[in-house]
Amino acid sequence: MTLNTYRGGPDEHGHFGIFGGRFVAETLMPLVLEVERAYNAAKDDPAFAAELARYHTHYVGRPSPLYLAERLTRHFKGAKIYFKRDELNHTGSHKINNCMGQILLAQRMGKQRIIAETGAGQHGVAAATVAALFGLPCVVYMGETDIARQQPNVFRMKLLGAEVVPVTSGTGTLKDAMNEALRDWVANVDTTYYLIGTVAGPHPYPAMVRDFQSIIGREVREQMQEAEGRLPDTLVACIGGGSNAIGLFHPFLDDPGVAMVGVEAAGEGIETGRHAASLNGGQPGVLHGNRTYLLQNEDGQIADAHSISAGLDYPGIGPEHAWLHDSGRVTYVSATDQEALTAFQLCARIEGIIPALEPAHALAHVGKIAGGLPKDHIIVMNLCGRGDKDIFTVAQILGTKL
């Protein structure tokens, strides 16, 4: 079946096809409905949009550039490669786009305390940043495994005045941090706003976070028109929960000439079982408030995700991606730790940009396809984060002592 639009979801219950929904405990349900009401009101309020635009321009540093990576293009001897430079945003990743929107919503709702979960720490840093900007206390839940491998971001959050709570339950990674944040929220529903960092969680979060991230794709449309006078041919983005990818893809979903590729983390290889590729290696299930593809065993117990990149180390994926996968509109592939590491080094040497390990997965895929495409084929890759936070991880793998 061909749909009239791929941009109409979710329905009023938060469903993208069979995915999404509101699978939360009753204690949270009234609050989830309150967030939805508040977001719907804000969405239609020009004053909200104007305030968000003002912060984007003067605080975040938007629009981020659309950069033609000429040396990389020559290197791969094929398609023309553009980077959307969201790593140049304040705080170093696309995460701030969403945090800026949600903090303004939390303000409208009169909430006095912010909680967040984080994996790589990029969302935690962005959440701590906007909380500092608005003078609100902020608690960030972070798995102890991630704390160990992302020390610079932990220190950044503390400098910003946030409390970083180590999560030891489960496997001590992003999914457990999200469980713990939900437990905090259940206990503090009156005062607290849960600032979810990706397009997951119960409705309206997947739609709301997507809307806030869609500024990426909207800017690319305009910038590409200016640079090339047309739409791009292929969009490529990495996928953990999938917020940077949906932000790039969503404004183009109804342009049939634009191909889209989401790149999951294959870790040590999908065949090894040690990966974070929910679409390529998981089955539908229900976790963290929505139905989506999950890494799980045959008994419905959630499995551990594995990736060199803490930001992709999540056993699920946003429900809209699950739907776009099943409908075939977006192609989902994967790149291994090793492929990402090679791309990471290549980008540093050839373009003078140290990317985060997350978009290094996207770049690894660009490297696989660019050479086989004609020179007038335009690829836009979302360079959604910078790699400063990853230099310790990479140094360790390369055997360099810092």
Binding site: G21, A25, E26, T27, N179, P284, G285, H288
Partner: protein, 284 residues
Amino acid sequence: MTKAADSGRIARRFAALARQGRGGLVTFTMAGDPDFATSRDILLGLPEAGADLVELGMPFSDPMADGPAIQAAGLRALKAGASMKTTLALAREFRAKDSETPLVLMGYYNPIYRYGVGRFLADAKAAGVDGLIVVDLPPEEDQELCLPALASGMNFIRLATPTTDDKRLPAVLRNTNGFVYYVSIMGITGTRSASDEHIRDAVSRLKRHTDLPVAVGFGINTPEQAAAVARTADAAVVGSALIARIAAGLDAAGRPRPDLARGALDFVRGLAVGVRGAREGTRP
């Protein structure tokens, strides 16, 4: 869809409690915690120890509404090999021994969803399960499991919380039967306790909206607290405190000591004495 008859056990039990003029004791243990055999010994001993209704947890790796005690119980069970199959096996053994005490399975949706809703309902019913409590299925998701469960003759018990206001209560109480489980605190299991006054007000608020019995849980740790709750509610639910007893019966290597089950059941006996004595002297 034609509606199959339910087992009637839950309604009969609450009617009997009302006739006796006392509140009931509901216990929660995790299926397979700390291992299948010990879990079975505890489960099968609960009615004799004074449990009026038995909730059996279905282990889940990511129990987001539960505190540390129940999280740990689920992980212990999973580590010892628990699965939906072994949980249903425990239910069958319980029903083979006790034909009247209501048995309710409680947990999260994903393990049921993976097992398959139709197959789960058929197998649970065949095992002698009377009702279900599924924490992450609010009324907004009733078509998933609630409606098929009711149609198959399985009671579907709903959670009501302090955040469920009068406007929302009718929606929460629409497709439900058996009893209403009032979560007396905002928070996860086994952390805080609600005041007697809060519980009294909450129960009378619920009673204005429903004729179903009201069981109150979360934060009930002692026979005295259980007694206080049973004075105003139709039943008191004890979970985390009982599970803490089970955890205390493990040795340093995490193996059950020989007296673990007896210790847990003695704790239940103490709670039952509290609950049974609760309304003495308070009734005409």
